[in-house]
Symmetry: C2
Subunit: 140 residues, 2 copies
Amino acid sequence: MGGWKKVLADAGYRVTRPRKVVVEVLGQAEVPLGAQEICELGRALHPDLGLVTVYRTLDLLEELGLACRVHLNGGCHGYLASVPGHRHRLLCERCGRSIEFLGRNDLDVLIANLEAKTGYRIHEHLLQLLGLCPECQAQR
Amino acid sequence: MGGWKKVLADAGYRVTRPRKVVVEVLGQAEVPLGAQEICELGRALHPDLGLVTVYRTLDLLEELGLACRVHLNGGCHGYLASVPGHRHRLLCERCGRSIEFLGRNDLDVLIANLEAKTGYRIHEHLLQLLGLCPECQAQR
DNA sequence: ACTTTAGTTGATAGTTTGTTTCAATAAGGA
DNA sequence: TCCTTATTGAAACAAACTATCAACTAAAGT
């Protein structure tokens, strides 16, 4: 609850009202949110909040690793707050709740093998798992 | 180069001209294509091809595992032809060329661990790696 | 605290992307 | 070949995202 301000400032960006609001909304969210939704929720805190700014702020937060784009099975992406360094997500298909987890060595081994085999130099990876959370399993 | 017809037929769908065209275009492509692009390329083979049909066909092919949605770092998804069973991709960030590979046990181990730790039941996963292919590395 | 200045904002308009509807068409079995 | 019904494509619509630009405000200097 404050680290993000330093990240913004260190990168030469300003800590503004709308940005605070977007970070706040993302921080509260348990489920990936679209830009539209973030804007509506944010207006409870700052009625003048504009949709355009939400888009811009999301791009910015993503660039700084403070938020991440989530790819759902059907229609694409919502956003979630992100702890830098945690790159991988586990999402519940029914309720949308998510957990971040650290990429284990398993993945590093896989990547190293692939680099050797293909000649590619890999520097980004996107791993997302979909399933049912314990609560949603119980409801069946 | 005909397996897809059987897959369609077995699932109760018809093998139509526009579908052939979309499959053909995807099969030739070395790079993820958007619906718009597929439509334009497809019109070389079938001038009447409609954009709406391309969207519908892509959804269908994805559902049957014959094509897959690819998530790029910036703006979302293009499509690629897909060999069923190969769920993972390695994409070159510069030229867009891609390789499919089989999810190794590394990933299965990771998933089993997570299920045990979180109580989630995982049944889908999305793994995508981004990097530079050998050709693009050489060009620098 | 006051001023300055450059990053930031938000309304409007525009573009791109995807969806709904529905009459016309064509695939595939009889 | 005929018949049934899935499938198609145009047009209209809806959603998602972007460009522009005058007004505003955060933050550094005085």
